[in-house]
């Protein structure tokens, strides 16, 4: 059973249900792989806490009360609060923080039977596209340890790619599930905004943040997503009253007649040739299966960058005002009065990208600037959402690249935050519109680095997206390839 770490969630669940392997054995195998914290993927590991959950799962498997994913390990991005593990959101300001409760998503996956392996590194408060903004050090891409894993769910993507966890949770505000999934050669999906509860997910930009699963296959993502979604009426006021769904039910359906919209704006001169070649090859495979490609236009794609980088920092500046050194988190040692305590605690606790976004957000919400920036951005946001609805009159799903290039070198954009912002261009539009989006391994580009195909669906069409991804994975093996030595 030495290759347990290469098995899918589905295969592990089967082995556990038929009692060919125990939850403790599976957890022990993954904990052994996590030893020494390869790629700096984890921020908190506690073998005793993991094994206690595994023993509880084994008891349920023995007495017939097991959930569908009983005993299958999962690791959580550190923005989900957990009782059994520390939660920092990748920030010094929350160093050592212990939540009194579990996030709804964490609790639902546990109810489905999943055992928590630990907490995964991420950009501080999920602000970043390379995982270089973590206060606890960058994460390495398992395909080339001198390159970034993408962000902000970089630890999640690296852990799955390196076989440190069969699946992970991530959050996506402007592409933070899709882009690292693409950079690390795994599969990840962000559902429709409002599908998954945000309760216990440390808020960055409340009108954009969504939780989603990351795993090797679309089928595994469907299994996790089915457990994660559903209304959370008393806990999250933005949670939609849309019932949970079995996203595996329609996997395997034929693609014949499926119209795939190809936005011309996603294939302009900014797109690197190696990424384009891999995306084109994946699209060719889908047409071979009966889908047709339809040219469409998303005319405000470029505008999504300023719109997003106004709205998200504005909401962040409000959300992050709770970190004041009073009820939780870091408090400065030397201060003169309450105001200086706030200012020094926040100055010491936040990293530079977080400070930059708080400053930008505070400015655009301040008196005299609100209409020109925040309100204007929210209006263009509606125009972007309307552009998608127009496009969906001509197609069923939209496909294109996730990012203009493969993963870049660690440190390459360190002094140029705007360079990272511009690289988000293809993931931001769906985020602003609140549409479901995913990344599926589509091949390899420059330097042998993975390339993902982005699929965007209309609201609540996650099952359709997952099916397209699943069909692609039936015909290709990119999702099964692993970095050397894994």
């Amino acid at each position: 059973m030495n290759d347990l770490h290469n098995l899918s969630v589905k295969a592990l669940a089967n082995l556990l249900q038929t009692k060919e392997v125990s939850a403790v054995e599976v957890a022990t195998r993954f904990l052994a792989r996590m030893g020494g914290n390869p790629h700096n993927a984890f921020l908190d590991i506690d073998s005793e806490a993991t094994l206690a959950q595994a023993r509880a799962s084994d008891a349920k498997l023995a007495n017939g009360t097991a959930g569908p994913l009983e005993g299958v390990p999962v690791a959580h991005k550190d923005v989900f609060v957990t009782q059994d593990f520390a939660t920092t959101a990748g920030s010094k300001i929350l160093s050592g923080y212990r939540s009194p409760f579990d996030a709804t998503v964490v609790q639902r996956l546990r109810t489905a039977g999943m055992v928590t392996l630990g907490k995964l590194n991420c950009d501080e408060f999920a602000m970043g596209s390379a995982n270089e903004n973590s206060a606890y050090g960058a994460v390495q891409n398992p395909w080339d340890t001198t390159r970034v894993p993408g962000g902000s769910s970089g630890g999640s993507a690296a852990a799955v790619a390196a076989g440190l966890a069969p699946a992970a949770t991530g959050t996506d505000t402007g592409g933070s599930i899709r882009q690292p999934a693409s950079f690390c050669g795994i599969t990840g999906i962000k559902p429709t905004y409002g599908r998954a509860s945000r309760y216990g997910m440390i808020a960055y930009a409340s009108s954009l943040d969504q939780a989603g699963p990351m795993a090797r296959t679309a089928e595994d993502c469907a299994l996790l997503l089915s457990a994660m979604c559903g209304p959370d009426a008393d806990r999250d006021s933005t949670s939609l009253d849309v019932p949970a769904e079995d996203f595996t039910a329609s996997l395997g359906a034929e693609l014949k007649g499926l119209r795939i919209g190809i936005p011309q704006e996603f294939f302009g001169e900014g797109l690197h040739a190696d990424v384009r070649a891999a995306v084109d090859a994946a699209l060719a495979e889908l047409t071979k299966q009966g889908a047709t490609l339809v040219p469409i236009s998303l005319p405000r794609t470029e505008l999504s960058i300023p719109v997003y980088y106004i709205i998200a920092p504005a909401e962040a500046s409000s959300n992050l005002s709770r970190f004041d050194g009073v009820k939780f988190g870091h408090r400065a040692k030397d201060y003169t009065d309450l105001e200086s305590m706030y200012k020094k605690s926040r100055a010491e606790g936040f990293g530079s990208e977080v400070k930059r976004r708080i400053m930008t957000g505070t400015y655009v919400l301040s008196h005299g600037y609100y209409d020109a920036y925040y309100l204007q951005a929210q209006k263009i946001r509606r125009m972007i959402a309307d552009d998608f609805q127009n496009a969906f009159k001509q197609c069923d799903v939209i496909a294109g690249p996730v990012a203009p290039s493969v993963a870049w070198k660690l440190g390459e954009n360190a002094n140029d935050p705007v360079a990272d912002y511009l690289a988000d261009i293809f993931t931001l539009p769906a985020s602003l519109a609140g549409l479901p989006g995913m990344s599926v391994p589509a091949g390899f580009g420059a330097h042998g680095m993975p390339v993902g195909l982005q699929l965007i669906g209309n609201y609540f069409k996650e099952a359709q997206l997952l099916n397209v991804a699943h069909r692609l994975q039936q015909a290709t093996d990119f999702h099964l390839r692993k970095p050397e030595g894994i």
Binding site: K343, R346, M359, T360, Q376, Y421
Partner: protein, 99 residues
């Protein structure tokens, strides 16, 4: 439009952030750099467009719901205060605010 060092000081005060002089300087350059890409937004004619807050409101009416006004949380003071920087007799401590 360009921000000035005075703007940075004013915003930092509103955001309750103490910035070191070199940090303020870097912040000024970076935020001004960022506003270079924001200007494209100003040229868009948005007259008559309603701002979009909950994205799914693009296709259906979304009303933020209210829950029943009943007590639902148990007293969990100890766990809630476990990560507090300073606590005494169940109260959060802050520097004196009233002389």
């Amino acid at each position: 439009m360009s921000l000035t060092p005075q703007d940075i000081d004013r915003i930092a005060n509103l955001a309750r952030l103490e910035l070191k002089p070199e940090e303020s300087e870097r912040m000024l350059a970076q935020i001004n750099g960022f506003f270079g890409i924001v200007n494209a937004m100003q040229a868009v004619d948005t007259s008559g467009v309603q701002p979009l807050a909950h994205p799914v409101a693009a296709i259906q009416d979304i009303a933020l719901r209210l829950r029943e006004d009943v007590v639902s949380e148990p007293n969990n003071r100890e766990a809630n205060q476990r990560s507090a920087p300073a606590v005494e007799r169940g109260l959060f401590l802050v520097p004196k605010v009233i002389e």
